[in-house]
């Protein structure tokens, strides 16, 4: 069965420090992979996506993610975190075909210390 695992429930980093949020998936076919961010009281916003091609993808707000097929991972990174990055981050796998939907991880809550 398809699944997405985000091992870290909560992470705290200092402003200016680097960040890596982990995501592992289980899916039999070539995955479509997404990272979404949810700020308090807001809906989810797409940060970046991987469909095919270059395994290092760039997103908005200075984020990037690397798809590693051998590790079934799609970790999110940012070299220098800003206080405004404090939010909930969700990794998701897209199920292809007519029944198009996303399989979601449980999310990682990011806190940023000044």
């Amino acid at each position: 069965a398809q699944s997405v695992t985000q091992p870290d429930i909560h992470i705290t980093v200092s402003e200016g420090a680097s960040l890596e949020l982990r995501c592992n998936y289980s899916y039999g076919a070539t995955p479509y992979l997404f990272w979404y961010v949810q700020s308090p009281g807001q809906g989810l916003q797409l940060l970046l996506k991987y469909f095919s091609g270059d395994t290092l993808v760039q997103g908005i707000k200075g984020f990037e993610a690397e798809f590693k097929r051998s590790q079934s991972s799609f970790n999110l990174r940012k070299p220098s975190v800003h206080w405004s990055d404090a939010a909930e981050y969700f990794c998701a796998v897209g199920v292809s075909g007519n029944n198009r939907k996303l399989i979601w991880g449980l999310g990682t809550s990011l806190a940023v210390n000044p």
């Binding site: 997404f34 807001q42 989810l44 969700f90 897209g94 292809s96 198009r100 939907k101 991880g105 999310g107």
Partner: protein, 114 residues
């Protein structure tokens, strides 16, 4: 381009009362999803429409939840009667027919059941 519109943003009701949420998708987006997001968890798919037809409602509690998408545009999600455990944010998301899973979310409707 206007985003996904949802209303109301907030609703407080007592258990056993009824409530309805409304969603207006991005123009031209054929697929519409309703998600339930309980505090501290990832989104849970309730129902997926493609135009005005239901694609997946396997996780919709049909004894109390109903949804419709007349004319394949706007959608409403109704809960009757509400239970305490229905307290959550209800997110509407839409996508183009040919999309591989990238969703565009509204800001959500936060329901509190007392």
């Amino acid at each position: 381009e206007a985003g996904v519109a949802q209303s109301p943003r907030y609703k407080i009701i007592e258990k056993r009362q009824s409530v309805a949420f409304w969603c207006n998708p991005i123009s031209g987006h054929a697929t519409l999803y309703w998600y339930q997001q309980i505090l501290g968890q990832g989104p849970k798919l309730l129902i997926q429409f493609q135009n005005n037809g239901v694609v997946d409602d396997s996780q919709l509690p049909k004894d109390r939840f109903s949804a419709e998408r007349l004319k394949g545009v706007d959608s409403t999600l109704k809960i009757q009667p509400a239970k305490l455990e229905d307290s959550a944010v209800y997110l509407c998301a839409t996508t183009e027919l040919t999309n591989t899973g990238e969703l565009f979310f509204g800001e959500g409707s936060r329901l509190t059941v007392l």
